[in-house]
């Protein structure tokens, strides 16, 4: 059963990567530990997981401080594309990297769908020590 959850998470990432203009995707825990990834070889998944957790953590705190309601996602805009870090349930975050030509409307819909599935899988897969 342990392997089953991991496989399903990997499946979600593979699906995201297949979308046009998507460079890579990774699932990290909110405290910066890597859960699963589908990233190009040039990226270090563990480092990206830690950084994404810091971005989401700081963004969430900023949102609370500014009284802007609850946090959904952080989008980092760059010369080449965008990095979207989205909360996936209580435990996890989904990071998606896309090139600038991506259709953001469609992409965000896919990200939303992915995030819901991730939250469900992780919730069902808890096995305490």
């Amino acid at each position: 059963m342990l392997g089953d959850a991991a496989r399903r998470l990997q499946g979600i990432l593979t699906e995201l990567r297949r979308l046009p203009a998507v460079l890579g995707a990774t699932i990290a825990r909110r405290d910066g530990i890597l859960i699963a990834h589908a990233l190009p070889k040039t990226m270090d998944p563990k480092k990206i997981a830690a950084m994404a957790a810091a971005i989401v953590g700081t963004s969430e705190m900023a949102v609370v401080e500014m009284g802007l309601g609850s946090f959904n996602s952080s989008i980092v805009d760059t010369q080449i594309g965008k990095m979207i870090a989205t909360g996936a349930g209580e435990e996890a975050i989904l990071v998606t990297m896309v090139r600038n030509e991506a259709n953001m409307g469609l992409l965000l819909l896919s990200v939303d769908k992915a995030v819901q599935s991730i939250a469900e899988i992780l919730k069902a897969a808890e096995v305490p020590a």
Partner: protein, 395 residues
């Protein structure tokens, strides 16, 4: 011309994990009997396989009795642990006869439904090969198929034969049906019990093991988290070691000193997010997270202060007025997490000695205070090793 005698095998059977071997005074003694035990399916086979391969790497002959895998498959899977002299790994084939295939192994069990035949095949291999290590994978295979009294008798006979041959024997066993009383009996037949545990939290599998010597006052470790590394084998793994301490104590420099390829998210000389590095010392892998020291970044600290295996608390020995803040940061991590104090910048004028720091911070006696100079990579690695020993309970 005199033929050179074969290389004598080491008195102790190393696990290949230096921190453990040190505690075991060089490894498991010969002869001895190990029970690799779990209540649920876990990755305990990794330990058995690793133990056999470490033996083969050390030039010992290892006997692997495999009831589940065909010999070709087992050999293929064992390649993950790195290359060995194939002659040093002797398999007892228990699957070919189950599949009605001819066995190509020197030793094979021809009648899997006959305990006497199983016994004979294993003991014949033991007597002929005089292996340094034996792994039986696994006893639950037999428990599932034969009356438990018969299996227990066979188990005792195998232990006796292994002892006579002066080898370390490992028996893998998952308990499905036995009562506590019978388990106690099995434990009492063994010299060491290695227990295994797996858990899944937030999508991440964590494996851990605990070694207990059955002899009274024997060794007893804490739960040791472990992982598998390709071509290396079993490795102690700490998913998170926190490097924390007051502003400007040298936390980022400590992370840099420990991990060659570390990253630091800093602006204007101070860490604003975190430092991260992956450390590999023989037999130990750790993910090191450095936190910001300034109070205004405390919320970042909280993101990373989960599932912490241990803490390296860095203080500036030349700025004793910051020690109160250091104490406070320790409390942020929570109780019962092992920690080591790094008295950093110990080469600067005005640096106070470790004893003085321990005294001023009102530390318990068993907390080590290690003088370090992180900029010159002095003392930092020792501090991490000490912390590792504290976490796994061998210090």
């Amino acid at each position: 011309m005199m033929q050179s005698p074969p290389k004598p095998i080491a008195l102790r059977a190393k696990t290949g994990i230096p921190v453990l071997d040190e505690r075991l005074q060089g490894g498991f003694p010969r002869p001895s009997t190990l029970l690799l035990f779990s209540e649920k399916p876990t990755e305990k086979r990794l330990f058995g396989e690793n133990f056999a391969i470490q033996g083969a790497k050390a030039g010992e002959t290892c006997l692997y009795v495999d009831f589940f895998r065909a010999p070709q498959l087992a050999r293929g899977e064992l390649k993950r642990f790195g290359s060995i002299d194939p002659a040093k790994l002797v398999l007892v084939d228990a699957t070919s006869s189950q599949l009605l295939l001819p066995s190509h192994e020197k030793y094979h069990i021809d009648d899997i439904d006959n305990l006497a035949n199983i016994r004979e095949a294993i003991i014949a291999a033991m007597t002929a090969e005089r292996p340094g290590r034996i792994v039986v994978d696994s006893m639950e295979f037999l428990m599932d198929r034969f009356p438990k009294e018969d299996v227990l008798r066979l188990w005792r006979e195998l232990i006796e034969a292994a002892r006579a041959a002066g080898t370390v024997s490992c028996f893998l066993f998952i308990n499905w049906t036995l009562m506590e009383r019978e388990l106690d009996e099995i434990r009492a037949m063994s010299d060491f019990v290695v227990e295994f545990q797996s858990s899944l939290r937030g999508g991440i599998v964590r494996n851990s093991m605990r070694i207990s010597q059955m002899e009274s006052n024997g060794i007893r470790t804490n739960w040791i988290p472990y992982t598998f590394k390709d071509l290396v084998g079993l490795t102690v793994y700490f998913p998170r070691i926190l490097v924390t301490g007051p502003f400007n104590a040298g936390k980022s420099t400590v992370v840099k000193a420990l991990a060659e390829k570390s990253i630091s998210i800093d602006r204007m000389g101070t860490t604003v997010a975190f430092d991260y590095g992956n450390v590999n010392i023989t037999g130990i892998e750790a993910e090191i997270f450095g936190t910001p020291g300034q109070e205004r970044f405390e919320f970042i600290f909280k993101i990373f202060a989960r599932e912490v295996s241990g803490v390296l608390l860095v203080v500036d020995a030349s700025h004793p007025d910051e020690l109160a803040r250091a104490r406070q940061m320790l409390d942020l991590v929570g109780p019962r997490i092992p920690y080591v104090i790094l008295a950093n910048k110990s080469d600067l004028p005005g640096a106070i000695p470790p004893e003085e720091i321990a005294h001023r911070m009102k530390l318990p006696d068993d907390v080590p205070v290690v003088p370090t100079v992180a900029t010159e990579n002095k003392g930092v690695r020792d501090a991490l090793l000490m912390l590792a020993e504290m976490i796994i309970g061998v210090r």
